[in-house]
């Protein structure tokens, strides 16, 4: 392992929008209106934040009750180095908070200057975000509130009416974003290093003799590590293809109609997908011989995108008479006799 590990930033993002239903939706509507709602459980206690079922006996719950925007810290921990996407970008405490009028706790942030200002049992109050949309982060966080009133102070009862009269929240945006340092493994690393020099590598199954491209370091049929990398030419044929006649959002570089094809390189046992250009889409045929069209040399990188498209060579088509065996080598079919 003398060569350095290849690494590339990889960001995973999901733009989730979730439907909320009548109970979670009412809670989030309340936050937008600066009202906190819980739900009464089967045993008469109040759960906040509310769920539409009782976690103890699964009975459906729908009796919403207002709880106070104040409460007490049941447990806490100090977060000295806030991480991306957390409620505050300066150090803060995480806490489980039992709001006055509720019997369960909620997890949220408490904004204080240091851990010495935190204590179990301390009174806190919600700090509302200026602009609210019906989201758990309408609560910017909690702040200490010695003057927040006694625990048993009755919550207002007008809040429920406010929520009932308001436009209900029916969905909530909860995007997630996770960053990685992607490392491709041994087989793909060899492939990526070679393709920077316009060389295409595959790996050869030591059991069946089949050649797989791109190489994965493992034979997907025999379940063994592959040891022999083989260099393949940048020529092959079209095993199958598709003509796309509608545009794709985010790919302005593709002008319909365009052709995506399954390309089998000379000497390979499997194909991979590639664009076909330099020919009218209507003239593309199964069996057509093609050659890679590479990026200019000064733009080459460790990426399969170095091949911009595949274009016809003008050679006679590969004759395909036995469609059961398209794309399969002698090594593939040899095993079938046994």
């Amino acid at each position: 392992m003398s060569e350095a590990v290849l690494k590339a930033p990889l960001v995973l993002e999901y733009p989730f929008t979730r439907t909320t239903g009548p109970v979670v939706g009412a809670f989030l509507t309340g936050l937008r209106e600066q009202v906190v709602l819980g739900v009464r459980r089967s045993d008469g206690t109040v759960m906040c934040p509310p769920l539409e079922y009782d976690p103890a006996d699964a009975s459906p719950l729908d009796e919403l009750v207002e709880v106070a925007p104040t409460g007490k810290v049941v447990t806490w921990t100090w977060n000295g180095t806030p991480r991306d996407q957390q409620p505050f970008d300066r150090p803060f405490a995480w806490a489980m908070i039992r709001l006055d009028g509720a019997d369960t706790t909620m997890l949220h942030a408490v904004l204080v200057d240091g851990p010495e200002q935190m204590a179990t049992g301390m009174r806190v109050a919600i700090q509302w975000r200026e602009e609210r949309e019906g989201h758990i982060r309408d609560i910017a966080g909690f702040v200490p509130a010695d003057n927040a009133g006694p625990e048993d102070s009755a919550a207002s009862t007008s809040g429920l009416a406010t929520v009932n009269a308001a436009e209900p929240v029916q969905s909530v945006r909860t995007p997630i974003r996770i960053e990685y340092d992607y490392t491709p493994g041994a087989g793909l690393s060899a492939y990526l290093r070679a393709i920077k020099d316009k060389r295409i590598l595959g790996d050869k199954c030591p059991v069946s003799g089949q050649v797989f491209v791109p190489p994965r370091g493992v034979s997907p049929v025999a379940g063994v590590r592959t040891t022999d990398l083989v260099e393949l030419p940048d020529t092959g044929y079209i095993e199958s293809f598709n003509i796309t006649r509608v545009p794709i959002r985010g790919r302005d570089d593709l002008h319909p109609p365009y052709c995506s094809a399954w390309i089998v390189l000379d000497g390979a046992s499997v194909g991979f997908i590639g664009l076909v250009s330099g020919v009218d889409a209507d003239d593309v045929r199964i069996g057509m011989r093609v050659k890679a069209h590479w990026k200019p040399d000064d733009e080459l990188e460790m990426s399969a995108t170095n091949i911009l498209w595949w274009e016809p060579t003008g050679e006679p088509d590969v004759p395909i008479t036995d469609y059961e065996h398209v794309g399969r080598t002698d090594a593939d079919t040899a095993g079938e006799a046994s």
Partner: protein, 350 residues
Amino acid sequence: MRDIAVVAFTQRQEASIPHESEVEFMVPLMDEAKKTVGLTQQDMGFTCSGSSDFLAGQAFSFVMTIDGTGPVPPISESHVEMDGAWALYEAWVKLQIGDIDTAFVYSYGRSSPGSLRDVLATQMDPYYVAPLWPDAFAVEALRARLLLESGKVDERRLAEIASRSRTHAVDNPHAVRRTPKSVDDILAEPFAADPLRPSDLPASADGGAVLILAAGDRARELCDRPVWIRGIDHRIDAHSLGVRDLTRVESAEIAAHHAGVADDRIDFAELHAPFTTSEALLVDALGLGGDTVINPSGGALAAHTMMASGLIRIGEAATRIADGQGDRAVAHASSGPCLQQNLVCVLEGE
């Protein structure tokens, strides 16, 4: 009920495995396990795996890893987005049905490409908690303060657990945190997630494990000392942390009861306890006495391979019984924040 035994186990855990993809590092483990009992993939009645694509951000990594089994001609196969212990459970159920005699189980996790403690925020409630991105250490720290302030444990007890894990791990080549440290030195560590110290937290690892199950006489043919699964059960607590009593682990208590932990003495226990607080709670929940050796491998504190740590606990316990280091053991796996879900498995030697 059919008698089902563990007949082979292999594992690999390292602080990070940057040079190999998941399937590349799993293939040698799969081969080694199969060779131990002289079986090929085509001899396996069923194959079940556990992993999560979120760890490395590699979409469909579990599909590529199936390539490593040698799945041609097509095999009977399933996957769970859970620790491999639950893949083992599915295989055990399949064996109980009675039409197969062997099953191949594996799981793996490579969390080093991402930040595991942040990735784990995505398993929290998606409406109320995940949008705040509480990291996994902070969430356990909230439980830890509850335990300390309720008097259920004290800091010294947690430090003793951490110190013992390190001592046990010295002899475990698969452990990644294996330098001994005294209780007093651990207590002198500054907080990592107040009130948890670095030694209270799991030593994250990349890796995987492979385990082969066989039924009845088939198990006796395949190895000298089959390790029988005498009881296995798994239960789950509520998802919302705010409705749970975090000073106990009710789902583990029930699973231990149904698995029959208390029916006889337990020589040792392999507990999937990522935190010292987890172990303190689990020892109580499983009703383990002072004569039971806890985590002879060092446990998940010494090497925590997400998605494989639970299966590794079962494999570690089975290997020790097969080697004659004990006759009856309990292995435990967990999943979710604050030990939300728990699997308990009682193992006995032939």
